[in-house]
Assembly symmetry: C2
Homo-oligomer: 384 residues x 2
């Protein structure tokens, strides 16, 4: 294991009555609250009404900030920062999926600095403080509700960048799996693919020795993700299966999953960010379309861990060929009915140069080894 600091301070209140703790948890953090949510579903599902009812008469003032869209935008974050400043918000509640929560995180740090919030993403500034954040996830997959990462698209520059900092951990996550029972099928699957890639990328890219515990943790998380997703597709309203999916996706992106692994990198994610920055593609769909190609292009480099992944996650007993693992991953994606190629997503060869060049821009900021613009293009071409 490599030296590491494990500090995961978020308090996760998990289960059916989680939302009932909102009033108590908020009161400890501040009374003027920016309520960040998405486009329609929180209102339509009645969740928005439930939250306002819960806080009715509590003396807590909700300042509404609605309309966050998937692949959330820098311009939306800026509007949120203005709104929070005008209303002197002391704390933030985010109700939604990863896009809403990432937007809330960017607001929570951006509201306390004079510079453009994008400077966190382009590596020019670091976070020193943030407004306290409570998350109420309505979809499983991104893990953002309990981790310290965020991904934002700069609408003007056409860049989608990720950033993580310990000051971005939410204070409290109120995780009621029943809020995820109505997530549409495609989003359920994309959430699974996202979390699965978050297990696979550190698993393959670590160079640390003596990490049997972590390998098993990542394998176990991946197996649970796959089983729970398959279960949810058959039985979307199952509280038990939605619980397993929400919890395992949180674990996939919790700091425990990378503790002791040393430097790991997420070049598949970086590559996908280029796709969904430049095209209206759900993040999980982009990952799915790239995954087999990304693995194939890394086959020699990651021969040993790719083989082990197949043995442990897909029960490929005794199979020594990494290509059998890639076949199994492909078979899984096929069975889930996700886009299997960039062609399936409507891209053509002419689109690939811009995506590769986007990856190069992110690589420059985050210094991710093992991928450059030429290699990115190679992976993209193979994924067509």
């Amino acid at each position: 294991m490599e030296n590491f600091v494990y500090h995961h301070p978020v308090k996760i209140i998990f289960g059916r009555q989680a939302l009932d703790q909102l009033n108590k948890e908020l009161t400890a953090l501040g009374r003027r609250v920016l309520l960040v949510y998405g486009q329609n579903s929180a209102v339509r599902s009645g969740l928005h009404g439930r939250i306002t009812d819960l806080l009715n008469g509590s003396g807590i003032e909700l300042i509404e900030f609605a309309g966050v869209r998937p692949n959330p935008l820098h311009s939306t974050v800026q509007q949120g920062i203005l709104r929070a400043r005008e209303a002197h918000c002391e704390t933030i509640v985010a109700v939604g999926g990863g896009s809403v929560i990432d937007t809330a995180k960017a607001i929570s740090a951006g509201v306390l600095v004079a510079h453009d919030v994008w400077q966190f993403f382009n590596g020019k500034k670091s976070v020193r403080q943030s407004l306290p954040l409570i998350t109420i996830p309505t979809a499983a997959g991104s893990g953002s509700e309990t981790n310290h990462g965020m991904v934002i698209t700069h609408d003007e520059h056409g860049l989608k960048f990720g950033f993580a900092h310990r000051h971005l951990y939410p204070r409290v996550c109120l995780a009621d799996p029943s809020l995820t029972c109505t997530v549409p099928t495609d989003q359920t699957i994309y959430g699974c693919v996202d979390a699965l890639c978050h297990c696979l990328e550190p698993y393959l890219t670590t160079k640390a020795a003596g990490i049997e515990f972590q390998r098993r943790f990542l394998e176990s998380t991946a197996q649970t993700l796959i089983e729970a997703t398959r279960g949810c597709l058959e039985n979307p309203g199952s509280f038990t299966l939605r619980s397993a999916l929400l919890w395992s996706s949180m674990m996939a992106m919790s700091p425990i999953s990378t503790a002791g692994l040393g430097r790991v990198y997420h070049s598949l994610h970086v590559l996908e960010h280029g796709l969904s920055a430049l095209h209206e593609i759900p993040h999980g769909a982009g990952l799915a379309a790239l995954l087999t190609s990304w693995l194939t292009c890394h086959l020699e480099q990651f021969r040993v861990p790719i083989s082990r992944w197949g043995e442990k996650v897909f029960d490929l007993g005794g199979a020594e060929k990494p290509s059998a693992t890639i076949d199994a991953v492909h078979g899984l994606l096929e069975s889930l009915g996700v886009p299997l190629s960039l062609g399936d997503l409507g891209l053509t060869e002419q689109d690939l140069g811009a995506v590769a060049s986007h990856a190069a821009a992110q690589l420059e900021v985050r210094r991710i080894p093992g991928l450059d613009e030429a290699r990115a293009l190679e992976i993209l071409k193979r994924a067509l």
Copy 2:
């Protein structure tokens, strides 16, 4: 999964340079520090000197409190509380194994109340606050360095009771595995047995459904514990193996290991506390001597999870008989060279009644189902 709150606020700084952070972490918590440690090893190993050197000139004042013994005593805690009060300590540093850290936890809560600290253990009072605690573990196994539990023996009453509370989480754990490289062989093994039982007890006693992630987590942790311990016995000075053992034993007793399992109980631990309360027996040795008997007496009740444990942890492919798992556990204990019966520990049938009656006293306070005095006696007799 059952509803749960997952909140593990301790900051774990893990690796070779962990101790270097002591000054910085302490400065944030308080300048008058009670330094709690054991009998000789911290001084003999030079660790005590290293700590005083680190803090030299920092303005931090160390108030020494040495001499904590294994199976730590209530009277020692009381002395520590007096010492911390007289010196107006603001914070505590514990350097040692589970006994030292448990003593430090009891002092951290006891110093802030007017009543006898034993009232936490006998269920008459709860903890509302505590002095901040930094732990520096020198042995793997108890998990106390990063969890919220403590076990103390009341010398006058002859009772050994455990207690856990969220205010007992250490603030920071400085975990340098190289400090555990010189742990004697028997203590290395006993630490492994302790952590292993902490995996097995919740695994067998949970009644929650949809907990595949947790089952896999506990199986993975147990496998890593066994492998790392075997490795350390062959190569005691290996930093890599000591890291794996320290980290997996922390995980065995971290709140993640029981999240979502609902009510679980530790009747094997309760039984063992009677042994080491009344006899000078290391905790891990007592657990080892009882484990096979405890499993055998629960064979019908836990038939399914016992079989699965064998399949996953001991690779008993397709074995459906839970007795095969018990044989494998027995074989493991035999290979580790631990006491395999109460006779090996020097006990005779006359000693058993008092041990069973001790268990009954703890059961009454903690309301642990599945065990009463008669059943305790049955397990003890079978373990002779």
